[in-house]
Amino acid sequence: MAGEKTVETTGLLGWLDRRFPVTSTWKAHLSEYYAPKNFNFWYFFGSLALLVLVIQIVTGIFLVMHYKPDAERAFQSVEYIMREVPWGWLVRYMHSTGASMFFVVVYLHMLRGLFYGSYRKPRELVWIFGVAIFLCLMGEAFFGYLLPWGQMSYWGAQVIVNLFSAIPFIGPELSIWIRGDYVVSDATLNRFFSFHVIAIPLVLIGLVAAHLVALHEVGSNNPDGIEIKGKKDRYGRPVDGIPFHPYYTVHDIMGVAGFLIVFAAIVFFAPEMGGYFLEYNNFIPADQFKTPPHIAPVWYFTPFYSMLRATTDDFTWVLAGAAVVAAVALFFKGRLSGIWRLVVPVILLLVAVLLRAVDAKFWGVVAMGGAVVILFFLPWLDHSPVKSIRYRPGWHKWLYGIFIVNFLVLGYLGTQPPSDAFNLMAQIGTLIYLGFFLLMPVWSRLGTFKPVPERVVFHAH
């Protein structure tokens, strides 16, 4: 019969290696995975996201042991965890703080990608898996937020599920199907619990694995946006690369230490974070007859929520106008060739008509969803000749600055009660957000780009 595989390792490890790729996996992904040596502070957030995922899974497992997914008992069971389960308060605060910190590190991780062009060829799939992870995370956070069955849980779920009712024709039936009832009820709570503890986490873990496999296939980008695989030494190792282990494992442990200091400070001293991490209204049990006087989603959803609110009937005129202008510009000035030169402007004109024909409510949902979905297309929207912000024209940095400030302002507006002045600001913010991405094919190639160096910029510490 066919014999055993020949391997270099001996003893127990050799026995394992002949049956399972232990050593080869270790080498491929850690000890012989060459990452650029010029990683900076921004590169902590990927490994931190993985750490938070582990924290959420572990604390989640223990919370499920005490939590009751039942509309009659859910709120009390959370209070029971907080007051009567030994150390239950710590586990729950770690989980609730972990949810917010997940978004903190993921937003920073995505911003890093934006700065250094980490989504550019050949890393499109790394980015796409990443955006899919972000979507899953939003779903996970949303489903999880219903579970404490407080007022915010209840009305937040009511609003978000009703988003689907804005879809023409099938919407109302669809939202009933999602809830499993005519209003958010016990049936809704149970299915959200199922999604939160098993369905989404499984998908999430699969996507995280795909994200890492895709990354290790193409290799990490770096702050200079240079391919290190271009310059190799005589052993075939990139001269500007260092093995992930031990160099970056040790580097990341430092990041973990810093992160845990902040994390522990929040868990122990400010778990509610002034109403941003745990909203005060959620300490009131769900009441299906009374919406709290002011409801807002948790902070990490508010930028998108602002865009939803900003899309009023008047605003669809502005969006329709923008679509017409884009159609004309693409037809006369665009770089599209052949049939697309005609088809794309016609589609845009059609969108302009639909913007006025269909309710603004529907377009609010489209704006909110589109703001996330547009991220998937980033690799094809960016046409700049260099990857990294370091070698882009100075005014590009200002654009990124405006984008970041705008995102934060939208986030703030989403936490506030609606008013005319804030609504106008949110509308301008929505235009800036969408314009940043939709006009990227134009602005990203403009300006004087700096020469990109041959080797990465690195100063030893």
């Binding site: 009511q158 499993g180 007859f289 919406t291 006087p293 609110r309 009937d313 603004a360």
Partner: protein, 213 residues
Amino acid sequence: MSQDTIVLDDDGAVDPNLPPDPSRRFWVGTACAVGGVAGVATAVPFVSTFAPSAKARAAGAPVEVDVGDIAPGQMRTVEWRGKPVWILRRTPEQLEGLKANDALVADPNSDRPGFTPEYAKNEYRSRKPELFVCVGICTHLGCSPTAHFEPGAQAGLPASWEGGFLCPCHGSTFDLAGRVFKNKPAPDNLEVPPYQYLSDTRIIVGVDEDNKA
């Protein structure tokens, strides 16, 4: 792998250079198609489990309400199909105020389909002018608006305010006939549920000429 040997005298082996056998291709394709249909069919029961259960559907029974003791300007909330239903007895001044709103609301005559039964397609959106019955759920995204009956300017409301409802979620405003004001996120007037008078002081919510219990 070193101990593997190449067998040369396997008469049954298929020459890898042969083109694909068309009849096998056909059966592989058929097997995949039939298997696929079976797979999709299996999804049907799973998808169906999401629909409201028999218990949830049965909970939609009509509700009888005694409205005799609701004083003018007072509102009572009752539960129907898990939703709040408001019953408001409007004062003559409040009814007068509705006229002033005709130019300010998006759909003054409730022409948009689906939210107003035929008998409520009037300025008051009710069977009898003073008694207003509606589902207290915003037509935008389902929050329950809060009552602001005092007229005049106040937080989030204009100076022309004649009394009405303000949705805390996205700022939609409705007048005392549940008509949505122009240029607000909510597309429709508040839903008037099917209802009937059983006597002068009793109504039943959930039943009318077209909707039997």
